[in-house]
């Protein structure tokens, strides 16, 4: 008997998912997160699920983890005392940033405070030009003086980012050697290794984040590994990366910046993998939790990935433009649009007497009014309860009793009365305003990027996602909604179905037409060599190693690259023109195309567990019937309420209906029908 365990730490709950590798049987557990020491939540979730399943530590063959520990360290300022070394004349890169304000009309705005205080920033005498030529030799004596100064300041980590080190890293590497020699025990991050691409502030910021969270992350992972090993767990601890794919805890300790979006990535990967297993390669993932909703897109089995990401930027009520409220990270991150619309998002009336929802959230504490933990402001969850969509008695399997009267009173007082609406109209309004915001997010990841959502399957998960999925499908034209089993812990299952992955890039900067297959092969070769080396060190057999080759291309003169699969230069150019047309609505085939970087994803295949198989059977009787409010049919209608755990394979029923399970509630709107498949997934489609 062998098992796989995934642990996903979220802001509110820590989820554990245990899969029996032979049968695919899944067991889940949820414990409260322990933000002060997240490893506490990790261990209690692991211990609880293993005890409940009667599984011993040495029966675990695979153990993967998603965590917000890296992001939280930055948001909470709990970072290491970090030094920053750059080229002489540029020590203020982290202070100046992009010289812009995060809020246009707020004269009290603040710039994000640099993660490295200015007295720990140094410029070393050296200079490399844009073509990699050395304009000024490295002054090694100066580098040693800087090392001494950093040592005297007691730094725990140092980030090095010299100008144009992405094209010629020699000086940067030498500075790294000097620092390592002079500062034993201090972690050194080099920009040419962490994020080798141009635009100095973005690269510096990425490197500084890597350096400043390294001690925190290393300590955290080390602590977990020790506890696991004392419990007899022999499997390597793997960590989810921001763009999907896991890496070993060992690699994570070196490059923690690759895991800043670990948790959200797990959800998208889970959606992609479920789609792949079911033969649906085009998937929109819709993950709605307590504080936010996240929408991502998977095309042809592969999640879309972005490098325009900032750690610690504020959530928004809608989709907006560019924000500068956080710290940019240029490592790949799953491309999610995240908005402040979760179950705990607060409904309020603005000064123009209009109803608004979010981005403020009641969070887990005090939580929605109906939790009865002191919350007074009505939330989306309160509205769903008032509409009868949630059951007061069955939330989290009945572990939390919901106060429907309290929710109703709060909506009445705070939303309905000021607007002259009745309480149901107001509750319906709250839900639909949230749906509209999520619809805009869905639009942004699909139509705006040139994808027609009608051809995609919407995979709905997170505790609140399945309650809103039909409405989102209705509004966006999506034809099929797929609700996996245990939607509330679905992200954790993403941890169990992913492969080992490492990403390697190298800048090339050449006219694509002037390259050749030979030139490309030569550029890819060292990257693939590094990939083979790293994967083998992590225990991957040579036959399980594969590579995905990609090119970052743009028109000469542009700044934003598009990533396309590699191939003969002419073929790659054709793909680029087509991709540009899809993304921006036009292409310019007569314009020269520039190859910016080559990119290799080295994949170490990991066998996937089987999906569970359910027997077919007749539709069971509903466990109850209750009135549920749907505006499209004029108000409350009598709806069947099914217990999801009693649904066999191959049954069909029509909305209005509710399906309840431990960690989520599925709302099947009138006009939709639900079908269960052999793996226990529910498909919702318009009738």
């Amino acid at each position: 008997m062998s098992y796989r365990l995934g642990i996903d730490i979220g802001g509110t709950f820590t989820d554990a998912t245990l899969v029996d590798e032979a049968t695919g049987e899944v067991r889940i557990a949820k414990v409260s997160s322990t933000p002060r020491d997240p490893s506490g939540g990790f261990l209690s979730a692991a211990e609880r699920i293993l005890a409940e399943a009667g599984v011993a530590g040495d029966q675990l063959r695979y153990l993967a983890h998603a965590t917000t520990v890296a992001t939280n360290a930055i948001i909470e300022g709990n970072v290491a005392r970090t030094g920053f070394v750059t080229t002489d004349g540029f020590r203020d890169l982290l202070e100046i940033q992009r010289q812009v304000r995060s809020a246009l009309y707020d004269v009290h705005f603040e710039k994000p405070r640099p993660l490295v205080p200015r007295q720990l920033c140094f410029g070393v005498r050296e200079r490399v030009g844009p073509d990699g030529s050395v304009l000024r030799e490295l002054d090694e004596e100066h580098a040693r003086e800087i090392a001494d100064a950093l040592g005297a300041e007691g730094v725990q980590a140092v980030a090095v980012c010299l100008l144009h080190a992405y094209v010629n890293p020699a000086h940067e590497q030498r500075v790294g050697e000097i620092l390592a020699a002079e500062l034993p025990g201090v972690e050194i991050s080099l920009s040419s290794s962490v994020a080798p691409e141009f635009r100095e502030y973005l690269r510096a910021s990425t490197t500084v984040i890597n350096a400043s969270i390294q001690p925190v992350v290393a300590r955290y992972l080390q602590g977990i590994e020790e506890r696991l090993s004392s419990s007899g767990v022999e499997a390597d601890l793997l960590v989810m990366q921001s763009a999907g794919g896991v890496y070993t805890a060992e690699a994570a300790k070196r490059r923690p910046v690759y895991m800043v979006e670990s948790g959200p990535a797990a959800g998208v990967i889970a959606a992609a993998e479920l789609g792949r297993a079911l033969g649906r390669l085009d998937v929109i993932s819709f993950d709605m939790g307590g504080t936010t909703a996240k929408v991502g897109l998977v095309q042809d089995g592969t999640p879309t990935v972005t490098k325009d990401y900032q750690v610690g930027s504020a959530a928004h009520a809608g989709v907006g433009g560019f924000q500068f409220s956080g710290y940019p990270v240029r490592t790949p991150v799953v491309d999610l649009v995240e908005i402040g619309a979760g179950g705990g998002s607060i409904a309020w009336i603005d000064s123009g007497s209009k109803l608004r929802v979010g981005p403020r959230s009641a969070g887990a504490d005090p939580g929605p009014v109906c939790y009865g933990k002191g919350g007074t402001e009505p939330t989306i969850t309160d509205a769903n309860l008032v509409l009868g969509r949630l059951s007061p008695a069955n939330f989290l399997g009945g572990e939390i009793a919901l106060d429907a009267d309290g929710a109703r009173a709060a909506i009445e007082e705070r939303c309905a009365a000021p607007l002259g609406l009745d309480v149901l109209e107001a509750a319906h309004g709250i839900v639909e305003i949230a749906n509209a915001a999520m619809g805009n997010a869905l639009h942004l990841v699909s139509v705006q990027r040139g994808y027609d959502p009608r051809g995609f399957v919407l995979v709905a998960f997170g505790g609140a996602g399945p309650a809103h999925a039909c409405a989102l499908a209705r509004d966006s034209g999506v034809e099929t909604v797929l609700v996996p089993r245990s939607p509330g812990t679905f992200s954790a299952t993403g941890l169990l179905v992913t492969d080992l992955e490492h990403e390697y890039t190298a800048m090339v900067l050449a006219r694509l037409a002037e390259t050749s297959q030979e030139v490309l092969d030569a550029a890819f070769a060292p990257l693939e060599e590094a990939g083979t080396h790293d994967l083998q060190r992590e225990g991957t057999a040579p036959e399980d190693i594969s590579f995905v080759r990609q090119l970052d291309l743009r028109y000469v003169g542009q700044s934003f690259e598009l990533t396309v699969p590699s191939g003969e230069p002419e073929e790659a150019a054709r793909r680029f023109h087509a991709e540009h047309d899809r993304a921006y609505g036009f292409s310019a085939p007569e314009e020269p195309v520039e190859l910016v970087s080559v990119r290799v994803r080295a994949v170490g295949r990991i066998a996937k567990p089987a999906l569970p198989v359910l027997a077919e059977g007749p539709l069971p009787d509903p466990k109850e019937r209750r009135p549920v409010h749907f505006a499209e049919v004029g108000g409350f209608v009598d709806a069947a309420v099914f217990d999801r755990y009693t649904l066999p394979a191959g049954v069909r029923f029509e909305g209005p209906a509710i399906v309840e399970e431990y960690d989520s509630t599925i709302v099947v709107h009138p006009g939709f029908a639900a079908d269960s498949d052999v793996h226990g997934n529910l498909f919702l489609r318009r009738t």
């Binding site: 004349g89 540029f90 203020d92 202070e95 100046i96 010289q99 812009v100 304000r101 809020a103 246009l104 707020d106 004269v107 009290h108 705005f109 603040e110 710039k111 205080p117 200015r118 007295q119 030009g129 844009p130 144009h164 992405y166 141009f198 635009r199 100095e200 973005l202 809608g318 989709v319 907006g320 433009g321 603005d350 000064s351 123009g352 007497s353 209009k354 109803l355 607007l419 609406l421 109209e425 319906h428 309004g429 639909e432 305003i433 509209a436 805009n440 639009h443 942004l444 705006q448 900067l509 028109y555 003169g557 542009q558 700044s559 934003f560 921006y584 609505g585 036009f586 310019a588 314009e591």
Partner: protein, 568 residues
């Protein structure tokens, strides 16, 4: 019968999302650093009555001005002459436009043959021809400043009008970049037309029109609710642009602001007559300064559309620097526009001491340069620099940041050096440049450009090098800016509006001003002074002489006894 709150909120957000998508499309496919990286552009949607309805991410300077420019362009061309799939291009300053670098495209949105409204985007082009590369300089009249494009069709029924395209590009130095940028502008409007169409397709034209009407009324209601809270009365102040490029006589701006519960009137008629120098603001620019200042005084969450603008009245006198007339040069209009925001804030500082900052950078601070290169052809580069922001009632002014209507990013050093034959020698904060105060102003920044090949034509179009941004309530002024040409190892001060030839090996150095301080420096928390000294932003000598704080540098602590003595 008004719309239900849900439909209203859905349509309102969908229209803003449509303009946001225009922003993404334009930014990602543009070619010039000024647009693609520095984001010097804006996008908006207007209804058929030419009321401003929705605005995407934007440079605030453009928002107020587009409200003037779009209606003027459409009316100038004649709405009846604009059909589906058309796009109008213009950069004409008179009437109702701004400076020539800002080129605007307007496209109609039709639904089943009926005109629904217009989408528009405006972008600052790196070159539009004229007397110097990047089209900035101390020009005497508008004809020296570049190609003037009255409203004409650049796209007709979905097809590029080649004659106009060629005629415009023929006037421009950086044809490759500008061609790419114009294509991106065309695509952005096409995106906007599609997206607004999709909103109508979903909700129906009647419902969308009703939502638009309600949105305007709603915004006006919220704006008036905000005005109710402001201290009603009439306030005035004056201020000066330091230098017009020719005369030592500084340029006077005057603003009288009347805050009423039912509206706000800005009266700038007492500003001085226009000059044959780059300090003239057009009416649209002045209007945008007033709109920006008002927006800062009220809830930032409030949407910006006609319902906001209709409470705003801006009175000017034609022929003045705040409402210049043909053929005045307009290239420096945004410099004056930004200074006008400063004057308006100053006028309100006694009435709203928590609502306005002390003096800020308050200028655009352009650098423009270019040359003919054997490989690149005629290349041009444009950038603007941040400076110190003013101290606020409870916080320091941030260092090295854009102010007021300007929020353009800096050009990354590596991108600049890869694209153009120039090296950046340094980019750093200017230590001790802050205006001291209980809450100090932000530091200015220094950026040095080295031209290894030369000769390059370089233009400074900036200000603030004679008087630093003022302090408030006992705070001190920030250090003035300096513009310096380094040749043969010697520094030469440059005027704030000057064009020069830089030879190979020459350096031009910008050291922008610090922000003004807020409150007396002796009231600054000594621990904050200590932090500034540790960080090297303020010297220990200055801590002592200006703030009255004695710092023990070696031990990194405040000498409290000595500080008490100094402050006594």
């Amino acid at each position: 019968m008004s719309l239900d709150p849900v439909t209203f909120e859905v349509i309102r957000n969908a229209l803003v999302a449509a303009t946001d998508e225009m922003v993404l499309s334009l930014r990602r496919s543009a070619y010039s650093t000024n647009i693609k990286t520095r984001a010097d552009f804006s996008c908006a949607f207007f209804d058929a009555e030419l009321r401003s309805i929705a605005q995407g991410f934007a440079q605030p300077v453009h928002l107020g001005s587009m409200v003037q420019q779009v209606p003027n362009a459409v009316r100038g061309y004649g709405p009846e002459n604009i059909g589906p799939g058309d796009a109008i291009i213009t950069n004409e300053p008179f009437p109702g436009g701004v400076h020539l670098n800002d080129v605007m495209l307007v496209s109609p949105v039709h639904w089943e043959g009926e005109l629904v409204g217009y989408v528009a985007n405006l972008a600052h082009h790196v070159d539009v021809g004229g007397g110097a590369p990047a089209s900035i300089g101390a020009f005497r009249e508008v004809f020296q400043e570049g190609v003037i494009i009255p409203p004409v069709k650049i796209v007709e029924a979905g097809t590029l009008v080649q004659d106009v395209w060629k005629l415009v590009l023929a006037q421009i130095r950086s044809k490759h970049e500008t061609g790419g940028d114009l294509r991106a502008q065309v695509a952005a409007n096409a995106t906007g037309v599609r997206r607004v169409g999709a909103v109508i397709g979903r909700h129906g034209l009647g419902t969308v029109r009703q939502a638009i009407d309600e949105l305007v009324v709603y915004t006006e209601r919220r704006t008036l609710a905000e005005l109710e809270r402001l201290p009603h009365g009439t306030y005035e102040a004056e201020g000066y642009v330091d230098f017009d490029g020719y005369s030592d006589e500084r340029v006077r701006l005057h603003a009288r602001v009347e805050l009423r519960p039912d509206g706000v009137r800005f009266d700038v008629t007492d500003s001085e007559p226009q000059r044959r120098a780059p300090v003239n603001s057009t009416y649209a620019q002045t209007y945008s300064a007033c709109a920006y200042a008002l927006k800062c005084l009220i809830d930032p969450d409030l949407p910006v559309n006609d319902g906001f603008y209709r409470v705003l009245q801006v009175d000017t006198r034609p022929g003045t620097i705040a409402d210049c007339s043909w053929p005045a040069p307009v290239v420096g209009g945004w410099e004056t526009q930004t200074r006008l925001v400063e004057v308006i804030f100053r006028s309100l500082s006694d009435a709203l001491p928590g609502g306005v900052p002390a003096g800020t950078k308050g200028m655009m601070c352009h650098a423009g340069f270019g040359a003919v290169d054997p490989e690149l052809g005629y290349w041009c580069f444009l950038e603007t620099f941040g400076g110190g922001y003013g101290g606020r009632i409870a916080s320091d002014g941030p260092d090295a940041v854009q102010a007021h209507g300007q929020n353009t990013e800096n050009a990354p050093v590596e991108e600049t050096e890869r694209g153009y034959p120039v090296l950046v020698e340094r980019l750093e904060l200017v230590e001790d440049s802050e205006g001291a105060g209980r809450f100090r102003g932000g530091l200015g920044l220094r950026k040095d450009y080295l031209f290894p090949r030369g000769p390059v034509t370089f233009t400074v179009l900036a200000d603030r090098d004679r008087e630093g941004p003022w302090g408030l309530f006992g705070g001190l002024a920030g250090r003035p800016a300096e513009y310096v040409h380094v040749a043969d190892g010697k520094e030469h001060r440059l005027g704030s509006k000057s064009t020069l030839e830089v030879q190979a090996g020459g350096v031009v150095s910008y050291r922008t001003c610090g922000g003004g301080g807020y409150g007396p420096p002796h009231e600054r928390d000594p621990e904050l002074v200590l932090r500034d000294v540790i960080e090297g932003k303020v010297s220990a000598e200055r801590a002592r002489s200006v703030y009255g704080v004695a710092i023990d540098v070696a031990d990194r602590r405040v000498d409290e006894e000595e500080t008490r003595r100094l402050r006594a």
